[in-house]
């Protein structure tokens, strides 16, 4: 750049650790990754196919397995859209408005993360179970929540509650309210403002939250296990089905079904990475140039 001759000493990178330290650290991290992530993943698929493709396939199309897959999909299909709507509403109100009790709401949203899933399951049993608070009333009206599909859906909703909101609150807060104000001054209604201004600005963050929410909804074990009752073909989700098969020493079938969840994890990971890249792009795009 400059015409002044600089002493021709090779530039030493003072902010970099010496080579052996770098290799040691990278090696440790890799070792950890292989031991705790890649190896288990390989084991899952290895065990699943240990008795051949036909056994693998048979374990997946067996009626009880199909029922478990169907139930998991149903629970996710109900829980994820509901939590998407709830998460959007909560994030919108927290990020864009001031109201008393706001910090309490933020704490409450985090509750499912801080409570052990088993406890969340037990709460539902205590509330809706036959000997619970609302149990007798529900029994009288012939409504069964616990040890039935509704209970599983409820538990799933509770456990996956925070994902969308957690993702959107910081995003919306950083974007502020000026664009919404601009839209309103220009004559847009509340719905138009939400649909044309707020939602497009958070769509990638929302999708990211939904994907995480979905992964958890399909993989949830603890809370669902407590409320399910483990009735084969009726109230077993995929994770519960895996547990049953495993306890029966039916290893190949257990891992075959488990491989479904592993694949879900891989797809989620890929989608998450892609979305993170998009979000980053969006962030750099919205940084003012001047």
């Amino acid at each position: 750049m400059s015409a002044i001759a600089a002493p021709s000493v090779p530039a030493r990178r003072v902010n970099v650790e010496p080579l052996p330290v770098r290799w040691l650290l990278i090696g440790l991290a890799l070792l950890f990754l292989v031991g705790f992530l890649f190896l288990p993943l390989a084991v899952v698929f290895g065990q699943a196919f240990s008795k051949g493709w036909s056994v693998y396939w048979a374990a997946l199309v067996e009626p009880n397995a199909l029922a478990a897959i169907r139930l998991t999909l149903t629970a996710a299909l109900i829980a994820v859209p509901l939590n998407m709507v709830f998460g959007l509403a909560a994030a919108w109100s927290i990020a864009k408005f001031e109201f008393p009790g706001k910090s309490l709401l933020i704490t409450l949203i985090d509750l499912p993360f801080s409570v052990s899933p088993v406890v969340s399951g037990l709460i539902y049993v205590l509330l809706f179970g036959l000997h619970g608070w609302l149990g007798p009333w529900l029994h009288e009206h012939d409504i069964q929540l616990i040890f039935a599909v509704p209970g599983i859906v409820l538990a799933t909703i509770f456990v996956t509650f925070p994902f969308v909101a957690r993702e959107l609150i910081p995003l919306m807060q950083s974007q502020g309210t000026e664009e919404e104000e601009a839209a309103m001054v220009l004559g847009a209604s509340g719905w138009q403002t939400f649909w044309h201004v707020t939602l497009p600005n958070v769509k990638w963050g929302l999708l990211y939250g939904v994907i995480l929410c979905n992964a958890r909804a399909m993989g949830e074990f603890g809370a669902v296990s407590v409320v399910s009752g483990h009735i084969r073909g009726l109230t077993n989700t995929i994770p519960l089905h895996v547990e049953i098969l495993y306890n029966e020493y039916n290893t190949a079938a257990a891992f075959a079904v488990a491989s479904l969840l592993a694949m879900l994890a891989l797809v989620t990971l890929a989608a998450k990475t892609a979305l993170e890249w998009r979000l980053k792009q969006q962030a750099t795009q919205s940084t003012p140039l001047a």
Partner: protein, 362 residues
């Protein structure tokens, strides 16, 4: 469309942002709300727009009470300091937004929207940017697009919140001249908020000076600059030197120095006199008793003017004097020299609470 602001008060918790504001803005006028940060000027602008509600008082647009009218029904154009362009829309869609969100009965056809947006883009001289996204524009371009977007809905009132605050000095200067020309063309009633006195004086028809939630003075740029109503206005509109003394027989007494003070016959035992840096002469010889002895401690050339900093010999107060480069050259002053100061013009204000806490010469 005229705007009438009557008895507006607004508090945020314990903080009184606006204390009983009364203001009349004529149709087609360009008015600046000028004041330091935290003086309530932005709050007042947002109340006019309908983005905030006042605790008490009313806002009338052309005689019609709009205090409780929703912001979307007020038909105002609002330009934000940080532009607030819709980041996921192109420039074209940004400007078209206000037309597209209208109910079906009043929404213009697509062809008409296209024509109108291009007219506005031509008006702000950025027609070639229609397909860009806000992130791809410079700050000055973004603000002009924001203005075009605000004008698209044909507002009856245009409100601008520190419109040039986030821009660099050169672009600022360009844009404010451009805004003035645009206003002369469109004649839309406009109110803009600024903390930059130069900007207010250059652009506005009238300047409203605000301080701590109250109006200090309303007047044309010349009026507020030449005849500031309060010490605050005097100080806010430019650099100022303060001299403590008294008034006696129509004369200002500063230490041993006696100066003529026309139009101020009353007697006062304690008074503060104000003089701007360019209103003080530097003399080589004492002019009887009418000049203050001082020593030059610093000389700084700032473009076309030279600023001389002096220390008074009586009470060691610092005085700043400003003169043109030619004047400076003909006087041939040097650092460390002893000279005499003679104010050409002094202002003294009626006693008022808080007058003394103005601080030293800026």
């Amino acid at each position: 469309m005229s705007i009438t602001i009557r008895n507006i008060q607004k508090s945020f918790g314990q903080f009184k942002a606006l204390k009983n504001i009364n203001l009349e803005i004529g149709a087609g006028e360009l008015v600046a709300l000028l004041g330091p940060s935290g003086c309530g000027k932005t709050t007042l602008l947002r109340i006019i727009a309908g983005l905030e509600t006042p605790d008490t008082g009313v806002i009338l647009f052309h005689g019609e009470n709009t205090t409780h009218m929703h912001v979307r029904d007020r038909h105002v154009g609002f330009v934000f300091q940080h532009y607030a362009l819709f980041r996921h829309m192109t420039v074209f869609e940004n400007i078209a937004f206000g037309l597209r969100v209208r109910p079906k009965e009043t929404r213009p056809s697509d062809a008409e929207i296209r024509r109108k947006v291009h007219d506005l883009l031509n008006l702000v001289q950025l027609d070639w940017l229609a397909d860009r996204y806000p992130a791809q524009l410079s700050g000055g371009q973004r603000q002009r697009i924001a203005l075009a977007r605000a004008l698209a809905v044909e507002p009856k009132v245009l409100l601008l919140d520190e419109p040039f605050g986030a821009l660099d000095a050169k672009v600022r200067k360009e844009l404010r001249r451009w805004l003035r020309r645009l206003h002369d063309e469109l004649h839309i009633t406009s109110v803009f908020v600024t903390h930059d006195q130069e900007e207010a004086l250059e652009v506005a028809d009238r300047v409203v000076v605000l301080n701590e939630g109250q109006i200090e003075q309303i007047g044309t740029p010349d009026e507020v600059y030449d005849h500031p109503a309060t010490p605050f206005v005097y100080q806010f509109l430019g650099d100022v030197n303060l001299f403590h003394g008294r008034v006696h027989e129509g004369q200002a007494r500063i230490g041993d120095v006696q100066l003529e003070l026309p139009g101020s016959p009353e007697r006062r035992d304690s008074a503060v006199f104000y003089a701007r840096p360019h209103e003080i002469d530097i003399l080589r010889e004492p002019d009887g008793q009418a000049a203050i002895a001082a020593q030059i401690i610093d000389i700084r050339a700032l473009g076309a003017t030279v600023r001389v900093e002096l220390e008074r010999q009586d009470d060691h107060g610092i005085v700043e004097v400003e003169m043109s480069r030619d004047q400076f050259n003909s006087k041939d002053l040097d650092r460390g020299e002893s000279v005499y100061l003679q104010p050409k013009r002094l202002r003294v204000f009626a006693e008022r609470n808080g007058e003394e806490n103005l601080g030293s010469a800026a």
